[in-house]
Structures are given as C-alpha cells and as structure tokens.
Subunit: 264 residues, 4 copies
C-alpha cells in the first residue's frame, strides 16, 4: 500500500467496553480510508510520574483484552513491554512489542523482545538523536530479528517541554526501518509540579502533517471517547470523534507525497 | 493566490553578475510554477562570527544592485537591516525590511523599520518562542505599521545545533501575520570552533515540506550557482539547479494543503 | 587583590535618589569587605519584551546621573550600549561599556565600543558557547583594544528557562580575559506570556557560589532597595539589605579558592 | 561529620586486581582526608550504547568481588541495579542500590529496591528536573523505605552534550534527601556516531567545586589507574593519581562552606 499505517487506541486498557468501542470505531474508519491499522493499548503503565496513578487492570487481564480486540476485529495489536521477563509472555498476546523511550538503551530488554520473533518497535529516547538509534537497531538485528520499527516521540527541550525534530525521520529511515511519529506523546509537557503530565492536543494535526510530509511510514495516535475522563495521558489524547476528519486529511497528504516519491 | 510565496537569492551581494544570474533563473522558475517571488540578498553581513569574514561590497553598492535586480526583473526585494539609522536609507531601495533574529528584541530597530512604512519581516530569535513574538508584532503595530511578517529560523538546541519547532507556525499565525520558514538558516550548525557555521543542505527539502504541511505562508531559501564558492553561508545554501525540482514538489504539496484548508 | 570584583547597582536609572542610595550602600559594604566595586545602571533599556515597558529617563539624564555617582563615590561605572553610534557618547560618562548578550555578534557595535579605548565587557549570547566567544574577543583585539571582559548570563534551555553552564567559566578564561558571572539575568525565566520576564532571586547565592568556586573573576548582581517596586527586572534583583551577608560568604569562599590556586 | 562523602571506584568490575588496587588507594586517601568513602563499581553494564561493548564478568562474580572489597577494606559499597528481579540478589552483596538515570521513572524497579531495606540512590534522569524527582522519592517512601539519596548527573542539552544545572542541588535537597553530584557522567558527550560516549575529564574539578559550593552532600567520581585502557567510560574517568590533590582542594572548600552554613 502507498498509505501510512496507524497505531491507535486508548493509552491504557481501562475496561473491556472502552477497548472494544475504540477498536470498533477506529477499525471502521481505517477500512474506509484504506489505512492499515494496529490496535494499541498498554496493559500496564510502568513509569507513571506518581505512584498513586492508575497502572492497569493487571497484566493478564490487560493482555487478554488486547488479544480479544485483535481476534474480534481481525487487527494486529501492540503494547509496551518494560522488563526482559515480560517479553515472552506478552508475545503470546500481541504482535508488536513496543519498547518505551526511557528503556530504549536497556540491552536485556531489547534482546528479550528480539527473541520473541515478533516485530519490535523501539521509541527513540528523549535523550537520544535519531542517528544514534542505530545501536538499538543493531542490538536487535544481532539477535537475529530484523522486524524492527522506530518511533519518534520528541526530545527533551528544557524541563517542561519536548520538541519534535523532523530531521529524525529521514535520519532514522537510513537505519532501514519504518519510522513512526508518535503524535500523542511528542506533545507532552513533562515535569509539571502536579505530577500530571500536561499536553497540547490541539497540535496533533500539526505534528501529524509534518510527519507525513517528511516521509513517516506510520502514525501513532492515542484516542479516547472522552479524554477528560481517561485514566492516563488524558491531556494529550485525541477525542475519538475528531480522528476521522484528521485521518482523511492525512491520507490526502500522503497520496501527494507518494506521487512525488514515485516521480523522483 | 493559493500558493506559497518564495523569498530567495544568494546570501550576500557578491557581484552584479551573481545577483542577476540568480534573479533571472529563480524568477523564471517562479513564473512557471506561479509562485510569487521576492528577491533576497544581504547588502551587508553585520554579525559574521569572525571579523575576517566577507561583509559586502559597501552598503550603497549592495543596495543599488538589489534595486537594479528588482527593476530589471520586476520583483519585490528584501534585505537585512541592522541598526535604526540604516532603515530609512535601505527603504529607498528595498520593499521588505528584514530584522535579523539576534536583533528581534531591539525596540529602536523595530520602530525605525516600522516608520519606513515598508513591510517588516521579523525573524524569530533563536532564544524566543513563537508566542512571545507577539511583543515584536505589537511594537511595530503600535508604531502605525501593520505590514508585518514573521520568520521561523530555528531555536538554540545545545551549542552546536538548532532545532525547528513546527508548533511555531500555527502559534505565530495567531499573531495575524504571514509566517515564513527560513529553510536555510534553520539548518545551521552554530558555534563551530572554526568560526565557520556548518550546515545540512541535504535536509532543505525536509524542512520545507514540513513547513508547507503545517501551514507556512512563505519559504525563504538561499541559493547560489556554486555554494562551495559562496562568500557566506555556503554550507547551507541550495545549489541553484536543485531549486526547480524542489519547488515543483512543494507546489504540489501546497495545492493539497490549500484544498484541505478550503474544505474545513 | 586576591578578591573578586563586583559590578552592582539597580537595573535602570530610575531616579537620582535611587542611584545615590544604592551606590552609597554598596560602596560602603565593598569598602568593608575589600571588594573592588563598579557601579552599574542602564541609562536606557533597548530590548524590553514589551514596548510599553519603562526604558529610562532619557540617555543624557541617565548617563549624567551615572557619572555623578562615579564622581561622588569615586567608583568606576558601567552601562549597556546598544548601537555603534551610542558608544562614543556613552564613553564620555562611563568606564566600562557593556555589550548586551543579544548583540554580542554585532561587529559594528563591538568595533565602535573598542574604538572608545574603554574597557569592553561582552555578555555571552544565550545562543553561544563560551569557546565561541573567542570571535568577539578577536574582533575587539583586532581593533586595537585589549581591555576586554566576558560575562556569562545563561544559555537558552527550552523557551521559558535559562541554564548556567559553569564550564563556560574556565572555557572563557582561556581567551585571556576576566570572566564575570551575571547572577541576576542568568536566573531569568524568559518568554512568559505576560511579557514580564520572571525570575528566581532566592537562587542568587547558589549561582554566585558556584561561580566563585569555578574561578569567576567578577560577579554582576543587580540590587534594589525594593525590587517589587523596581521599574525593570524586579523579579530577579536582590533586595539591597541581603547583599552584605551574601558578599561576606562569597569573600570567604573566594579566599579559600585563592589559597588553593596559589598552591597549585 | 562536616565533610562530604565520596562514592568512587572504577566504572565496572574489570578484574579482582583492579577493584582491589582502586579500593586500597582511595580508602587510604579518604582516611587521611577524613572523607567517608563508599566503594562503587558496576557488576553489569546494562545500557551500553553498543551491544558489542564489555558488560561485565557475570553478575555473581562481579557482586562477589564488590563484597570482597567491602569486607577487606571495611567499606560500604554500591552498584547499579537494572530490573526489579535483580534487587533482592544485589542487596545480599552491596549496601546502596543505585538506580540508573534512564530508569528513574520505573516504578517496579524503585519499589523492588525500596523493599530490600537498603539505601536507594536514584540518579536524576537526563530528561527530568530536580523538583520532579519528588515523585521518585515518594514512591520509595510509600514503600516504607526512607533511606534515599538523589544524584545529579546532567541534563540533555542538544543531542551531543549534557549540562549540569546546579539549581538542582538546592531543589533536590528540599525533598529531604542527601544530594550527590556525579562528576563523571555529567561530563559525558552522548550520541557520538562512533557509539562510544565522549567526555571532558579535565573539567571534573570544575564540576566538583561548583557542587561543593552549592551544598552537595556527596560526590561521585569514577577513577581508574589507566583510563585509556578502561573497559567502559574511559573518556570520563579521573586518573587515580589525580584524585588526592583534587580531594584535598574539595575538602578545604567544604570546610569553608560548612563554616558559613553553621553561621547562618
């Protein structure tokens, strides 16, 4: 396909109702717009700012619900893994293991993820450059797994802001992997004194358009029917009913980019 | 017009031959692609890293040659002004006064530029946010001049790099002014020990595409028939023969964006 | 002397009463503590964020009052200069011409300041590294003036914060000049949406102690009897009655550093 | 004691000879200078840039040698832990569990470290502010362990540099914990294309003096008899024979600071 692919879902598995509602809506939109769709939800949040934040329904329940979504809607699925000893278990339920940005240098985790034989999607650390992600790619390749994706999610820019450096899209594509723009977390406002990460969801379209224009292969967008009520990352998620009009525009843009690429 | 406009030319007025060659070539391309074109060259470089760098042919000669270009090719023109007492003189020759990024907070300079009645294009300081450019805009408006443009040219990101924050495009458009992306200087690598600013000209297309996708009204691109021989900013300028294929792509992208904007 | 020197005074010449009060108090403290003292006040604020901010009493009045302070209390004096055509006039009144950080790359200004034969104190731009300040030093030296000082005042760190990089103290001393820490402006919080720069005056002692410990030759501290009522930079100035206990500590620290330096 | 404490040793347990040599030398110096000394060496390097880098002799061997050092020289010891399931085992051998900066947000790891009852030393992430380290502290305290230390090791400043923000020392002391300056890793030059992190060991004294002057309770310094031959972090370690003259100076500085603190 000439189109980009979409990784989307709620930040965390809050309930069966929620994941089913989101998956049904998003898979419907993506069928219409011919966007390959990967369902995403975290079964556990392992690095919340504050210990009192919601971290999930339990790993087995969370993973089970993600698999149920995948089976019901015939979708590939993805979720974060956080320690080497989680990978084999998670791989029984999901198709793409996502390495959180803070953990992208943990060799044991990368190798355990590689060993599952599943696709490994490594998020670029907020402290790393796109070119230096080649070392994460090499660790996974040397473990015999060449199914690798890389995700841009913003870089530390002072304490309370992130900046997206779009040079990282062509730079990371040079590693020979698909590159994804995480349009949700790259708009985080970290280090808030409240312990709740802030955000700028009205800029999701800006981030996504720039990513498609500069050659991103996939987009990552967290979405929720009611972000204000979400149990994690509510400040950044896109309201579910805003997703279709945004994706429509992005597909148009992608078609233009694909035409230009085919000519050059 | 639905198209973006282009500010382009060699970094500095090196010779009459050079400015004429560039203007003729670029105006020909822009006519074909229906891009409104503003000729740019600096008549003086006032903030070169090193005192031994080339700074121009003399203000009167430089300004005179810019005017000659404008007259011959029927083009509006622009150049940098550096001190309040230069503005009135420069305004006799050029149509748009450009305020250098380092100087965007100098009230006297902004007011003197405003007083000429010409268009004033203020480059965002490497140390400023897009929202805070509202104060520069207000200074000029309060002086009775509402013909203002703002230019993004990258933000300090460690000592030896700049990063382009595309959030600044929608943020600066909220000030009610056209917003331009400077695709040349935003790729500078400052603070090199050699005293010669480095660059990444192979990324000009990446910067320009992201800017068009996020709604920039204009692009600024320095171009030279032989950047390696240029007397300033050679590390960043686009080779003149690469300009047309790039602009062709950007116009296609802009047409898609314009269509999407007209629908929403 | 083994001691550091102090550049201090109110941010701007607000009134004769104010400058005399501050000069009398600070010169008394410095005599007691054997600190060489340079009186500082700006005669004009040329780069206020907002055009409606106070900019001074007029250049002639402001400069005249600074000179009156210097004469009355037998103190060397300093103030900012902002454009090449101000330098000769300012040099009639003051002993050290200070180049504002935003302007440290403006060759014409550096050369005009150099030509006065006075000491030139160049503040490191928020966008420059300490090593790259060698080019400012070279411009002034090549104009025949070797009386140069450099001042650290923080570096852009995201939009709304500055960070002081103490590596710049040894790095700038390698240029063969005294190095000053500006303890006031390095604590600014720029780019506030209000147009009023914020601050952290409770950290002045932290900044000053680190500077003395790493070898700074001088300190720059703005002080005011009532910062909350000050017409500029109130958020950062040290309350005048807090100056003596701070300087006492810094002198003790400096004596230890001087002893260690003499041994190695 | 009024003195600071020192955490020091080679980056990684390379061999029994190496750890014994370093411990003997450093403990001798510290006895003479009355500096409380904690022996540090990593038993495993879990986040090397490149998979081909040396990662240790095996956990059991490494931990066993660290314990042997502690027993022989009567020293408390410390080492990094990298995953929740390592903590209980490591706690059998060492006295202080150090949480690597990249992992300071991993709740499972913090809780497992807390549960050992040992002292937990959390390094501030390169992407975190000092104030936001309160959430790491709270996670450990809520687990019933109040023996917490925090370590500053620099903050992301562009891709290839770190900057030490000394405001973090007073800011982190407000969390009610001792604060340590890591003089070694804060001088790293990350994201080098070679995959080998660079450094600036000649600035170790600058970093350490500023830390003592601003109130740090402890210093962390990696040292090696021959850094050029070290198997990890050679670019930043202090040559062992340079340690004593540096510590001598730092103790003098600390005595002055302690005197000033006792007076205010």
């Amino acid at each position: 396909s000439n189109n980009f692919f979409l990784i989307a879902g709620p930040c965390v598995v809050e309930s069966e109702d929620l994941v089913m509602e989101v998956a049904e809506t998003v898979s419907g939109i993506c069928k219409k717009l011919e966007i390959p769709y990967v369902f995403k939800a975290s079964y556990r949040k392992a690095n919340r700012t504050s210990a009192s934040s919601f971290t999930g329904l339990g790993d087995e329940v969370g993973l089970g619900l993600i698999k149920k979504v995948g089976d019901k809607y015939q979708l590939p699925t993805t979720s974060d893994v956080h320690a080497h000893d989680e990978c084999a278990e998670a791989a029984k339920y999901i198709d793409i293991l996502q390495i959180p940005a803070f953990l992208c240098r943990q060799t044991d985790l990368l190798l355990a993820a590689a060993d599952t034989g599943k696709i490994v999607n490594v998020k670029k650390g907020q402290f790393l450059s796109g070119p230096s992600m080649k070392f994460a790619v090499e660790k996974i390749r040397q473990a015999g797994n060449d199914k690798i994706m890389l995700t841009e999610r913003g870089t530390t820019f002072g304490y309370q802001d992130l900046v997206v450096d779009y040079r990282n899209i062509p730079w990371m594509k040079e590693h020979g992997t698909p590159v994804i723009m995480d349009c949700t977390h790259s708009l985080q406002q970290p280090n808030q004194t409240s312990g709740v990460t802030g955000g700028n969801p009205q800029l999701i379209g800006t981030v996504a358009k720039a990513a498609i224009a500069t050659g991103a292969n996939g987009l990552f967008i967290e979405t929720h029917p009611n972000p204000a009520m979400a149990k994690s990352d509510g400040a950044n998620m896109l309201r579910l009913d805003l997703l279709e009009p945004l994706l429509y525009q992005l597909v148009e843009l992608r078609m233009t980019i694909a035409k230009l690429e085919s000519m050059s």
